[in-house]
Amino acid sequence: MTTQVIAVEQPVERPVESQWSIVRRRFLRHRMAVSSLILLVVLFGASLLAPWIAPFPRDAIDLNAQFLAPMSRNPATGALHILGTDHIGRDLFTRVLYSARISLMLAVLVATLTSVIGAIMGLLAGYYLGWVDTLITRSLEFISTFPFLTILLILTSLLLQSPDLIPIPGAFIALIQYGTGVPGDEAASLALIVLALAVLSWTGTARLMRGMVLSVREQPFIESARALGASNRRIIMRHVLPNSLPPLIVDYTLAINGVLVLESALSFLGYGVQDPTPTWGNILAIAESNMLNHPWMPLVPGIPLVIAALAVNFVGDGIRDAFDPRSVLGGAGATG
């Protein structure tokens, strides 16, 4: 019998490919996604180098050079302001460059926190069901019935006025300081905004994850793992989580995009990141109040914001297509 089997089942020589390497290969074939990813990396990289390549200090006020148009020179010093200046004469190119790092970092941080909280909640609810599920589902329903923006505004204004209301771990502030490159006191108020956003927006991820877990937990391989004597924790970490991951990853990129735009909206309303910390959102907010006289102003932060948001979206698209075995990418033919 054994010889028969060898004859019939001799495996065809082919590279061993894990699901992840297939996904990576398919992602790399998605041209828009790859160029978007490169664009984001370049944008972020340039922002990292801002202290060296920016023509002016980040917060340098020059009241002789208010509202200068792009490509105009400083009347006193003759220095070139590539993208003009704002209402107190700060160089906009410098600030937009700095804010790329801050805005993207905030978005990534909030999205990460949201995904982690949401994934844990969804896993617990979907796996254990019963009262755990009831508790988590009811509380996320409760949170999602809040008028999101209103609560967010109240929360951020409250937190910004009395920062000691919630003790924030020093390590978290240090992480933000390190990630965004802002001074310590600014990092503390950024931390508040990150927390406020994360606390209010994990519900969607939790729902998504719960749904995924509900379907994965009924798969026969979960039962067979249990029959091998695996504990709940092991089953969750080794079998349920990896099989529920693909939609979570896509959700994560979309969350980054969402936060990017939400932070702008919040800053635009005056409750987001506070001046002088620059973000695309609060530069836009300043531009908005002077828009009628200086119509070029909103475009300066607006264009990179839109480009970054689009790029993140394309990356998310690329990842989703890479995970979906049915999608055919650019007529590239069948894939493994």
Partner: protein
Amino acid sequence: MATSPLLSVEHLEVQFKTQDGIVRAVNDVTFHVDRGETLGIVGESGSGKSVTAMSLMRLIPNPPGKIAGGRVMFDGEDLLQLSEPDMRHIRGNRIAMIFQDPMTSLNPVLTIGRQITESLELHMKLSNREARRRAVELLQMVGIPSADRRLDDYPHQFSGGMRQRVMIAMGLSCNPELLIADEPTTALDVTIQAQILELIKRLQHELGTAVIIITHDLGVVAGMADRVQVMYAGRIVEEGPTSEIFAQPRMPYTIGLLRSIPRLDDEQGRKLNPIRGLPPDLINLPQICPFSPRCDYFQAGQCDAQVPPLRDVAPDHRAACLFDITLETPVTAGDPVSA
């Protein structure tokens, strides 16, 4: 040979709570498995055979399922009384299970190697290298060529038969005393089916494992089992040595099952000979013979007055029928048969 059986199940009751009422999936089931022997459990869908097997491992999802009564004595211990961590130590280690569908019983995102070493890590506390060596051994044992290389492959790179071999390797990795095979060949085509059964048989002889093989395929049981028990509506309705059951069935249900098997030497164009009617609804089980509505030998006033107990009809052969019915008993409804 030890005097006490390896596994003895006594008066097992399993119920499921549903919106329509309580489904009594397993009713008062008592049986035993000796060390090294093969027990076949036969029955149609919904007869409680899989639920019985799952309750031995305490894998009934709760809620909605519940083991409502009885004892499962395994090597002197009542499994139903064990704590969950103690039970985990039994699962995969001393009692292993092979499932029906090898296509979905393996985790698609883990390599075969990692899945085989899972129970080795859990129960035998082997180091990575030892576990890997053992995994190669196991794959060779179940007849997978170039085992060392195939450990790094993913389930989708294996065919159905190969995956069932992997499942068997996983099941046997810790040398269990009892292997429960729940319809191990249902999802496979006939030639592969024969190979897999042959493999289980061979390994059982080599390792001395007791096997419970659950199936609706009488052919599988005939080739594999030392003893057979037939289940119907959550009850054991007949049990005995395999040859007895096939040659001298004493329960009308078993007789019906055997008569419904198509034969190769039948004349062409003969229709199949099914058992008429449908299995009873397990929610409202009246206290009558569960098979009586479909039985050709039904006796009003007797079959619908009590649940017939299992009684000895021959040495080691018991059937749950009030009457002495054999293959020769003429099918003439209404003709009284002496008790």
